[in-house]
Amino acid sequence: VRHVRSDAQVVSASIRDQGAFAEIFERHFDTVYGYLARRVGPELATDLASDVFLTAFERRARFDTGRAEALPWLYGIAANKLRGHRRSEERRLRALARTPVLSGMDAGARSAIESSVAEALVSLPLIDREVLLLFAWADLAYEEIAEALDIPVGTVRSRLNRARHALREVLAPHSNLTISQEAPQWTN
């Protein structure tokens, strides 16, 4: 049986053996970078993701080893790094909404919907956007979001509800559009 150390065990080991922290990097860099790239674009994400792991390394002694997973902690550090780059994120979101998509949906209708969603995201309070994107893009559970942002779980629920409601409102005008999620049908 191969025993794999938990993140908490690896972080604990890195207090005395600094080199052990590289394993945390290997386990989570792609995930953290992917999330940041989606939010602020690849160029800035490279700097921010590197900063996240340097900061995590410096603060590893403060990691709560009662929590097995380090990912929420890393997302929390990433959230702090993102705060200074709100404009970059807003530009990125608007650009994403303009990006042509290849799917079975009607491209025009889809583009209109995504533009509306991107604008709604931009207009959300920062903390609401953070909660929503950690939920939708990072796939964190309520408890993990609470841990990442250091807020109560109840606050996560209420903020998430509010953010989703805001998105539903902007989607309402598009509800009469017929949008298929099926793959396109090809005929000879």
């Binding site: 922290f21 290997e26 790239a37 690849p42 590197s50």
Partner: protein, 250 residues
Amino acid sequence: MDELTVLRDLGPATDPGTASARLVARAALDRRIADRRSWLRRPLAVGITTASAAVMAGGAFALSQYVFVGSPASQAVERQVEQIDGVKATLRSHARTTGVLVDQTKAAVVLDTVAGPAYLWVAPTRGGGYCQYLDLANGTQPGGGPNLTGGCTTGHPFALDASFPWTRVGEKTVALVYGYVQQPATTVQIHFQSGATKSADINDGYFMVEVPAGDGPGSADQVTSVDALTSNGTVVATQVKGRIAPTARS
């Protein structure tokens, strides 16, 4: 289709630049780990050797008088450069040595700091990268050998590659800014929170300068960034302290 489905489809979930981002970030983390590891150990080593410190310090100073810019490394320094490379090769992430050309190790900068002589030993690697190892003559290991800290790069990924270490040697605290800068830079300028600056010359791309330890005006804690400048004063790269080194333009 609900709002979460639309949101999850917004933008690519993966980025093709992950591999290059990972390389740059990993290099930065490795260097931070290497800096912390050696510099954390150094005061311990000094503490252990208290009884023989006077004798060894005297010896180190005597030796240091024969180290100039461009001096080849002693066998003891070469052995440790080789050893560090070998240890790195045992780490999962490295898998092999960096290919440092040990016999080409030479002193790029020699400084007389508050804690005695400091050397920046540099060496090329087979893959076209470079290695930098910081050495305080009075911060020797228990056996009396050099106690190097530093590491290597693969290629020349950074336009400006500065480190900001500090440590205690006996009763003294020494803080340095050292690193590598690519052409066409001819000098580096260190910026402090107060707006003051301090310049350092570049020798074959390498620089090292001492800054006062502590948190007063113009001290190590007040360093904010380093600029690389050309001979006509044009800033070609800036590295903000605490941020990743600026990458070189290909």
